[in-house]
């Protein structure tokens, strides 16, 4: 009886150890795979007599010509970031002016992305902390109005 009991205990312990190892490895990997491919465009906006929109901003061109963005007529792409965002893992976005982070909060209804964007200005001052739920392919554009009738834009879309 003692030998049988010891054997059973050994079996149970071995099973638990292997199960724990498997649980740590497999589901963790699966959870880490919840991602969204996001594109972030840093744009400089100015008013001018001659309208000019960078060719890389073609996907946003129609929107940039609508109010209130039509306040400006010259839009220049400062930087472009392609990020594969992992759920609840903030990703820092390198900007020409200031800094930003983007976090995939979750994917909603299989077609929407809940995204958090934070922006600090060139002085390190916190400008905005925003969470928006948008359909995949739609845009979230954060506009920071600067002195001299200039604008600093960060546009994000995910799919």
């Amino acid at each position: 009886m003692i030998r049988s009991s010891n054997g059973r205990r050994t079996t149970v312990l071995a099973g638990l150890a292997l199960a724990a190892a498997t649980l740590v490895a497999a589901p963790g990997h699966a959870r880490a795979d919840v991602t969204a491919d996001c594109e972030l465009l840093e744009i400089s906006a100015k008013a001018g007599n001659k309208p000019a929109i960078d060719a890389e901003l073609k996907p946003l061109e129609k929107k940039l010509k609508k109010p209130p963005l039509s306040t400006w007529s010259q839009f220049t792409l400062l930087s472009r970031s392609q990020k594969s965002l992992h759920k609840k893992k903030p990703e820092s976005i390198s900007l020409k002016i200031g800094s930003a982070t983007a976090t995939l909060v979750e994917i909603v209804d299989k077609s929407k992305v809940r995204l958090t964007v934070t922006i600090d200005d060139a002085k390190g001052k916190h400008v905005v902390d925003n969470t928006t739920t948008a359909e995949a392919g739609d845009w979230v554009i954060v506009v920071h109005e600067l002195a001299g009738n200039e604008g600093h834009l960060l546009a994000a879309t995910c799919k």
């Binding site: 054997g7 050994t10 079996t11 149970v12 071995a14 099973g15 638990l16 292997l18 199960a19 190892a21 498997t22 649980l23 497999a26 589901p27 699966a30 959870r31 795979d33 919840v34 991602t35 969204a36 996907p59 946003l60 129609k62 929107k63 609508k66 209130p68 963005l69 306040t71 759920k87 979750e106 994917i107 209804d109 299989k110 077609s111 929407k112 809940r114 001052k125 916190h126 400008v127 905005v128 902390d129 925003n130 969470t131 928006t132 739920t133 948008a134 359909e135 995949a136 739609d138 845009w139 979230v140 554009i141 954060v142 506009v143 920071h144 109005e145 600067l146 002195a147 546009a155 799919k159």
Partner: protein, 198 residues
């Protein structure tokens, strides 16, 4: 060195003293072995150096025989034990040396347990993968990617701002729609910027 006993009383027949009155060899041997306590014999030995020498020789011979027998007995035991140990050593298997040998030995002994444990672990892991929490994300992980439906523009819902914080400034949310899709514009005006410029 014992011999058949005989009655000490009565005239010793055939073993009595010789014709010259000297003690016979048998009497001397019995005396040497302590089997005959005869004062008369002892007195005669005092007067007979040859008989005393015989008794002495008998003593020595007895010691020799006793010692030889004891040695023989010990030799027999040692030989038997040596043979027995040789057989035992031959039947013993050398214990495995080294960590790997011990590990493989352990697995050999508990192979059934390990297999049972592995099967149990697999079953538990499969259940955990199926029932694990956090599956509210309907996007299922694929090979190195994800599945997010990009719906047609006409079917898309307007973006919703869940939270907005603009420390040290004000904000305005504007939704823009066109045939390319929706856009939510979050307009942040700092306190030091000119709101009239909008």
């Amino acid at each position: 060195m014992t011999r058949p006993s005989h009655p000490s009383s009565g005239p010793p027949s055939g073993r009595s003293s010789g014709p010259s009155g000297l003690p016979s060899d048998l009497e001397l041997m019995e005396h040497a072995d302590g089997e005959r306590d005869d004062a008369e014999l002892a007195a005669r030995l005092e007067c007979d150096p040859a008989a005393r020498a015989k008794v002495e020789v008998i003593h020595q011979l007895g010691e020799l025989v006793r010692g030889h027998l004891e040695l023989s007995a010990d030799a027999v035991h040692d030989a038997r034990f040596a043979a027995m140990w040789r057989r035992i050593d031959g039947q013993l298997v050398a214990p495995p040396a080294g960590v790997w040998a011990r590990l493989s030995g352990w697995f050999d002994r508990y192979r059934g347990h390990v297999i049972t444990g592995a099967v149990s672990a697999g079953a538990v892991a499969a259940l955990a993968l199926i029932l694990r929490p956090g599956t509210s994300d309907l996007a299922v992980a694929g090979s190195g990617g994800h599945v997010i439906d990009v719906r047609p523009v006409a079917l898309r819902a307007t973006p919703e701002v869940d939270s907005l914080d603009t420390p040290g400034g004000s904000s305005t949310v504007i939704n823009l729609d066109d045939e390319d899709g929706h856009a939510t514009v979050i307009w942040v005006s700092s306190e030091d910027s000119d709101p009239e410029a909008i």
